[in-house]
Structure formats: structure tokens, C-alpha cells
């Protein structure tokens, strides 16, 4: 149950990043250069998709705290490194990003580095 919450939290975090990307694509595509909310960061953040992504992030944080109340941090924290795999996979599937072999290698290296950091931080 607690583990399921941890995985739910990680999935929500990954989805929120994908929603962020969708929001930025819309931002890049729909607005004319002249009417881009440049300088107005609040206008940028006030987009529905951005608010949704922030909301998903908040839900992820709540799930993570609930999971941590029942799991050891040393057990749960390394799971966070999964996001560095999930987000690029989602970007590849949803946005057809060209993920080269080198990029995959780089992502795996980063993932293992984060894993080492999280293992060492939580003990």
C-alpha cells in the first residue's frame, strides 16, 4: 500500500513534467511573437495546463509524504531516480522527441548518479 503510494507519487511527478511540456508547446505554437506573455511571468504561470501541472506536482508531494510516513526514506528515496527514465520515455512516446543512443546513455548515467546520491543521502 505504502509502496503503491510511492509509485503513484512518482507517476504523478512524471505526468506533471509531461503536462509542463505540453503547456510550453502550446505557448510556443499558439501565441504570436508580439503577444507572447514575455516579461509577464504570472500570465505564463496562470495557464490552465501550468496550473494543472502544478496541481499534479502538489498531489505527488502529498502522496510522497504519505508514503514516507509508512516507508523508510532509505528504501523510498532511490525510487525517485525512476523519474529520470520515465520522463524521457514519456517525451519520446507523446512528443516524438528524437532520443538518440547517446541521449539514452547519458540518461542512464544520470539516473545511476542520482541513485547513488539518494542511496547515500538517506542512510
Amino acid at each position: 500500500m505504502a509502496l503503491a503510494l510511492a509509485f503513484l507519487s512518482i507517476a504523478l511527478m512524471a505526468v506533471s513534467q509531461l503536462v509542463f511540456k505540453a503547456a510550453s508547446l502550446r505557448l510556443a505554437a499558439t501565441s504570436e511573437p508580439a503577444e507572447k506573455p514575455r516579461g509577464s511571468f504570472f500570465a505564463m504561470i496562470a495557464q490552465p495546463q501550468v496550473i494543472m501541472a502544478l496541481g499534479l506536482n502538489g498531489c505527488a508531494a502529498v502522496c510522497w509524504l504519505l508514503a514516507l510516513s509508512r516507508l523508510d526514506l532509505s528504501y523510498a528515496a532511490p525510487l525517485l531516480s525512476l523519474n529520470y527514465l520515465l520522463v524521457p520515455v514519456g517525451a519520446f512516446l507523446l512528443f516524438r522527441e528524437k532520443v538518440s543512443r547517446q541521449r539514452i546513455l547519458a540518461i542512464l548515467v544520470i539516473c545511476s548518479g542520482v541513485l547513488i546520491c539518494l542511496f547515500s543521502s538517506s542512510t
Binding site: A106, V109, I110, G113, L115, C117, L118
Partner: protein, 136 residues
């Protein structure tokens, strides 16, 4: 040429966003640590008022600024580049926690940070940080 400048702008936005988010974490940490004891959680207004201190409000504002820049960065760069690259935050937060709060730097932590750095360097060698769909 346009691609070039778009990439450069995206990378700049990414770098500043990462800096802001790492700095916001450090500010929030210092703000929360210096609060001492908060009113009990059953008194929500008093609890919320207790949270309004310069480092906490500043940290949240920096976080919002970092999020906006993250969005700008994503209009220029692939998510599969920008998100893994944001792992550099780990290094910055470790460095800041060591410098400002005297948190210990352990060998495995340093090793992990070094591996992340190698990964990000590998990522930066990618010739095409933007897929066609994102460079509209």
C-alpha cells in the same frame, strides 16, 4: 542560425531555472529551520502567519520564477534533454547544504554527484537538443 540562438536561449533559461530552484530549496530550508516552533496545526491561520518570513516568501518567489523559466526552457529544448539535465540541482543543493548549513559531504554523495555530472556532460554532447516538433 535561428536554431542556434534558440538552443542557446533554451540552455540559458535551463541554467537560470536550475539555479533558482536550487537556491529556493536552500532558502526554504533555512527559513523552515529558523522558525523554531510553529503554532499547532489545528490553528491554521496562526500556522500560516508563522510561515510568512523573508526566507520562506523569498524561497517561494524564487521557486515560481524558476518554474516560469522552466516553461521557457521547455519551449526551446526537448523534455528528454532538459529534465535529465535538471539533475544538476542535486549538485548545487549538496554544495549549498555543505557551504551554508555545514551538512556533511560523504564520499558516496560526491561519487554520485560526479556520475551525474558525467551524465549531463554526455547529454550536452547531443548535437540536436531539439526535435522538429518542438522547434516550431
Amino acid at each position: 542560425m535561428k536554431h542556434c540562438s534558440d538552443n542557446a536561449r533554451g540552455l540559458l533559461a535551463l541554467a537560470v531555472s536550475i539555479l533558482c530552484c536550487a537556491a529556493s530549496q536552500l532558502l526554504l530550508k533555512s527559513g523552515m529551520s529558523s522558525i523554531g516552533t510553529l503554532p499547532a496545526l489545528d490553528n491554521v491561520p496562526a500556522y500560516a502567519l508563522g510561515l510568512i518570513t523573508p526566507p520562506i516568501v523569498g524561497g517561494l518567489m524564487l521557486y515560481a520564477f524558476g518554474t516560469a523559466l522552466w516553461l521557457v526552457c521547455l519551449t526551446k529544448l526537448d523534455l528528454s534533454i532538459a529534465y535529465p539535465a535538471s539533475a544538476v540541482q542535486f549538485l548545487l543543493i549538496f554544495a549549498g547544504a555543505w557551504y551554508f548549513f555545514g551538512e556533511p559531504v560523504t564520499t558516496p554523495r560526491l561519487a554520485g554527484a560526479a556520475v551525474v555530472l558525467v551524465g549531463v556532460l554526455l547529454l550536452s554532447l547531443d548535437r540536436k537538443p531539439t526535435s522538429p516538433t518542438t522547434s516550431t
